[in-house]
């Protein structure tokens, strides 16, 4: 399987690579978001949109990638990547009054969801975010697959496409079930 990570100039991108290596996924390319061309992506089987600073609107390429490949390739968005998926389908973001940087929280997951196979219903996850998807703005085609102990949307999946967004960081050492979540995406 050929995997592409689109790197939004983040400092956790190589933690994602290391997480993939730990589950024996080695055919991975990392390309920075301003060095990728849409046509190049066709050669890959699955796409991961990395976390990153700022807002999805700072990187229009993310929306273009989702637009072009949402129906043909599995896509996993992490943090900023998750927010890019939500915004592509018309959702809005809210700036958190208390931002969460380096915190670990309990979240409730839908154990029927693709990403949460073989995972307990409550898991500890690492968070780095100032923005969150506004639950009331989500269209019906996106459903919430986990929420935090502060009722913040922690992940979403598309009802028809193999398209998933996670607000927390599976690649963080604060997320013990990160490897299983990533395996579930690779097996999806």
């Amino acid at each position: 399987m050929k995997l592409l990570i689109i790197d939004n100039y983040d400092s956790f991108t190589y933690n994602i690579l290391e997480l993939l290596r730990s589950i024996n996924c080695r055919n991975v390319s990392i390309v920075k978001n301003d060095q990728i061309q849409l046509s190049q992506i066709a050669a890959f089987d699955k796409i991961i949109l990395s976390p990153g600073p700022g807002l999805p609107s700072d990187y229009p390429i993310l929306d273009a990638v989702i637009q072009n490949y949402k129906s043909s390739k599995p896509i996993l968005g992490v943090c900023l990547g998750h927010q890019a998926i939500a915004m592509h389908f018309g959702s809005t973001l809210t700036n958190l009054p208390d931002v969460c940087h380096g915190q670990s929280h309990d979240i409730q997951v839908d154990t029927n969801a693709v990403l949460y196979q073989n995972i307990p219903s409550t898991i500890r996850v690492g968070l780095y975010h100032s923005w969150a998807v506004d639950a009331s703005s989500l269209p019906s085609e996106l459903h919430i697959t986990s929420v935090s102990d502060s009722s913040i949307v922690m992940s979403i999946s598309h009802s028809r496409y193999d398209l998933h967004g996670i607000q927390f960081h599976p690649e963080s050492f604060l997320t013990p079930h990160g490897a299983t979540i990533m395996k579930n995406f690779l097996n999806s």
Binding site: F12, R21, P53, G54, G102
Partner: protein, 332 residues
């Protein structure tokens, strides 16, 4: 390699090639890279003396050990920057944290000092595992950048200190949530950096306590250990490996690229060699430091540069105090 005097600059690409060659040949060398990566230096350990460079890296040194103690009283006075200037920078950084452009940012400023000691005397008298004397500056750093031993690379992020004399100091610092969040961030950042150059990256120690003795008091320092496995031929790509890790995570922040942009705007001037790195390759292994605890000679006199990590939970007054408190020399 021709480095005849300290003023001979090389490009970053020349530096990288020189380091790769020295590593591949097993030639011991000393390297110094500034924060902006504009003035990298490398020389064989044999040449360090002639270039006016004295190093001390965990006991590996080219400095004389029988130094003479100065008997006259030492004058050491500092003149902290205005509260207003620090407030402006601090508020700018807080806005960026709230906007999600950074999660952790190391903000630093120079403090003018007056002292009767020369840079050389400070080099000899200061107590620190990593010390460097350069014609223009002196470093006495407690902080490791990376160590490479056999085929393993180690990093030791340090975040969080407390006065050891406070009752229950250890429990207080370990239970402090803001300290924990900041430490988590630096651990994830350094896991990432080691994952760029190595594999099987693991956190081998998390938030362990060590005691530091200064001339003023005893401090408890919280640190972690992260380890990764390098490819067996790491020595011949040592220059590439070191450059991929720069600037050091502990003195920039996360995410690194955007955070460095914010630092440049908030600080308004180059840091130079301060918060750069220096280290020694002994022919087999490597040990190196982040150049914090730093005094430089300028046209206006001596400047001591210091700083601290700013997060969304940082308090303005205590950050300013930390910047001021760090302006001291841990004398022997």
């Amino acid at each position: 390699m021709n480095v005849s005097k300290i003023g001979d600059m090389m490009t970053l690409s020349e530096w990288r090639q020189n380091v790769n060659t020295l590593g591949n040949n097993g030639t011991p060398f000393l390297f110094i890279v500034d924060f902006e990566m504009k003035k990298p230096l490398v020389c064989t350990l044999e040449d360090a003396d002639t270039l006016g460079l004295l190093y001390h890296v965990n006991g590996n040194t080219n400095a004389a050990t029988n130094l003479t103690q100065k008997t006259s009283p030492i004058k050491f006075e500092s003149f902290p920057m205005s509260e207003l200037r620090f407030k402006k920078a601090f508020d700018d950084v807080q806005l960026q944290l709230q906007k999600g452009n950074t999660y952790l940012l190391n903000l630093t400023f120079p403090t003018p000092i007056e002292t009767t000691l020369s840079l050389e005397e400070i080099f000899y008298r200061s107590k620190a595992p990593y010390r460097l004397l350069h014609p223009d500056f002196v470093v006495f750093s407690p902080e490791c950048f990376v160590k490479i031993h056999n085929d393993a690379i180690f990093s030791y992020p340090m975040k969080g200190t407390i006065d050891a004399s406070i009752p229950n100091a250890e429990t207080i610092i370990l239970q402090d949530k803001k300290e924990l969040w900041e430490h988590n961030t630096i651990v994830d950042l350094l896991r990432n950096d080691l994952s760029i150059v190595s594999e099987n990256v693991v956190v081998t120690k998390f938030r362990t306590i060590s005691k530091i003795t200064t001339h003023k008091n005893e401090l408890l320092q919280v640190s972690s250990e992260i380890m990764g496995h390098l490819p067996q031929d790491w020595r011949r790509q040592l220059g590439d490996i070191l450059l991929k890790l720069l600037p050091a995570g502990s003195i920039s922040g996360a995410p690194k690229s955007k955070t460095v942009d914010i630092i440049r705007k908030a600080e308004g001037e180059d840091r130079g060699y301060y918060t750069g790195v220096f280290g020694v390759f002994d022919g087999h292994n490597l040990d190196s430091a982040v150049m914090i605890r730093y005094i430089e000679k300028t046209v206006e006199g001596y400047q001591f540069r210091s700083g601290g990590g700013i997060t969304a939970n940082s308090d303005f007054q205590s950050e300013r105090q930390e910047l001021i408190d760090k302006v001291y020399v841990p004398f022997v």
